[in-house]
Subunit: 282 residues, 2 copies
C-alpha cells in the first residue's frame, strides 16, 4: 500500500500525470526515513528538513507535518515494516507546463514503505570510493528531486567497480553522491560545513552528536583532496549506509586499508541509538 | 491524444509510475519543437540534440530517431496542430529506486502536441528582465529534466513583474532561465559560447546563421554584467520566444528602452524562415 495525499492505495491504482511538475522539472523535494524494529529513526528531524526544503523552493506542503507523521506511521504498519525505510516526495503538482510556479499549485505527496536490510557487511568490511568532480547546482542543501548529478556520480563509481563517488568542487571535498563524508586526522574529525554545497544529513547530525559525547573533536570545516587521500580514516554516512568506513579511494588504500578506530566507535554508538528505539518500543 | 512509446493514447489513460526515474531523479531529457503552419520547425536539429542529451547521460532511446520523427508527425496531425508545439521527454524508465542506473533500463517516451500562439506582442514591444545568480549545475548543455534552477530563476522574474531572468555566473552572463541571451555592441553580436554553461538553443543556431547571412559579425565569446547593462541592444531567443528584444534589465532601460535594429532585422529574417516552411508545404 502506498500513501497518496491522505489515502492509502494499491500501487497499481496510482497514476502520476505526465504534467506533474515533478516529472517535467524535478520540481519537488523528498526524504528517506529508516525504520528499525518497526520504529522510525529520526522522523522529527527528517520532517523538519522536509519542511525546510519545501520552503526554500517556495512550495507549500499539502497538509501539516504532524498529520504527515501520523500517516507515515500508518503506512509503515500497513506494510508490516520491521526493518526498512519509507520514501516520500512532494511535488508542486500538476499544471500546464511553464517554468514559473502555477498560480494555484496543488502539491502532491506520494510515499511508500519497503522492507530493506541494514548494510551490515559493508559497514563491517568498509567500502571503496572514487573521487569525481562535483558538477551539481549550488543549492545542494535542498533535498530536491534534481538528482541527475548525484545519479551520474554514483554510476561513475559503479563503472569503476566502487561503492561511492566522493565529490570535489574547486579542490574542496564536499560530500558523496548519496552520503556525507568525514576524514580523521590526529584522531579528530573533519567534515564539510552544512552550507549550500552539501545536504546536512540527519545521520551526519547524529554522528556529530555521538562524536561530541565521545569527546572526539569535530571540525565542521572544508578540507581538500590531499587531506582526503592522506587521512587516517575516511567515513561516509547516510540514512541507508549509516556509518560506513571507506577503505580505498581511487584505488589507493586509506591508511592500512582496514576500517579505523573512530569509525568503529561511531558505529557502536550508532547501534546503541538504534537499540534505544527498541527499548522505547517495549 | 498523447504519444507514449509507440502508441497514441488519451491523456486520461496514461499512467506514470511513481518509480519512474524521471519522477524520482529528474533522470531524463526533453525537447520542445515548434509547429508553424502545420509543419515542424527545425525538427532534425531538435532530434540531433535529443540524441546528444541522451548520450551525455548514457541513456539509450526507446527506438530510432527516424521512427520518432515519423510518430511526432502523426501526433501533430492527430491533434490538428496548425500553430503550436510538441513537448517530448524520455526518462530512464521505471526501476526500484537506487541512484545508479538500472541494470536493464526501459526508457520511456512521452510526447504531447498543443496549440499555442506565437508571442507576437512581446516580440514587437520587447520584454523586461532581471539579472539573477546562475546556481545551476555544470552541464547546462544537456537538455535534462533537472530544471529547478531554471524554475526558481523564472519565478524570480515573475515576482519582480518581469518576463525573464538573465543568469550571471562568476560575473559572466550565461543565458536566460529559458532562453539564450545576446548583446549588441558597435552593431556586432556577442553571445556565450556553446559549452557546458549554456544550452545551445536551436533558435540560437538559426540566429547565428541569419546574422552571418546579413553580414552581422557574431562573437561567440563570454561577456559580463557590465557589458549587458551598457549594450546597444539585448536580445533573448528560444523555441517559444523566437527572437525577442529586451527593453529593460533590473529596472534600467536598455539603450533608449525600445527594440533595436539588430533585433528587428533578425526577426524579419526569422519570419522569412518560417514563411519558407509554408512554401515547402504548398
Amino acid at each position: 500500500m502506498i500513501l497518496v495525499q491522505d489515502q492509502l492505495k494499491d500501487q497499481s491504482e496510482v497514476r502520476i500525470d505526465i504534467e506533474d511538475r515533478g516529472y517535467q522539472f524535478g520540481d519537488g523535494v523528498y526524504e528517506v526515513v529508516r525504520v528499525y524494529n518497526g520504529q522510525y529513526f529520526g522522523m522529527d528531524e527528517h520532517l523538519v528538513r522536509l519542511e525546510r526544503s519545501a520552503k526554500e523552493i517556495q512550495m507549500s506542503l499539502p497538509y501539516p507535518i504532524e498529520v504527515l507523521k501520523r500517516r507515515l506511521e500508518i503506512l509503515a504498519e500497513a506494510n508490516d515494516i520491521e526493518d526498512g525505510h519509507v520514501y516520500l516526495q512532494i511535488t508542486r503538482g500538476v499544471a500546464e507546463r511553464t517554468h514559473q510556479f502555477p498560480l494555484q499549485p496543488a502539491p502532491l505527496l506520494v510515499a511508500y514503505a519497503r522492507k530493506s536490510p541494514r548494510p551490515l557487511s559493508k559497514m563491517k568490511k568498509g567500502v571503496t570510493a572514487i573521487t569525481t568532480e562535483d558538477i551539481r547546482w549550488l543549492r545542494c542543501d535542498i533535498k530536491s528531486l534534481n538528482l541527475l548529478g548525484n545519479v551520474l556520480g554514483k554510476q561513475k563509481a559503479m563503472d569503476a567497480k566502487c561503492d561511492e563517488s566522493i565529490f570535489i568542487r574547486n579542490e574542496v571535498v564536499t560530500e558523496g553522491s548519496s552520503t556525507n563524508v568525514y576524514i580523521v586526522k590526529n584522531g579528530e574529525i573533519w567534515t564539510h560545513p552544512a552550507n549550500n554545497f552539501i545536504l546536512n544529513g540527519i545521520t551526519r547530525q547524529v554522528i556529530l552528536e555521538l562524536a561530541k559525547e565521545e569527546g572526539i573533536t569535530v571540525h565542521e570545516e572544508t578540507f581538500n583532496k590531499n587531506d582526503l587521500m592522506h587521512a587516517e580514516e575516511v567515513i561516509i554516512s547516510s540514512t541507508t549506509m549509516e556509518v560506513t568506513p571507506v577503505i580505498s579511494i581511487d584505488g589507493k588504500p586509506v591508511s592500512n586499508g582496514i576500517p579505523g578506530k573512530v569509525a568503529r566507535t561511531l558505529q557502536e554508538k550508532f547501534n546503541e541509538r538504534i537499540a534505544q528505539l527498541q527499548r522505547v518500543k517495549n
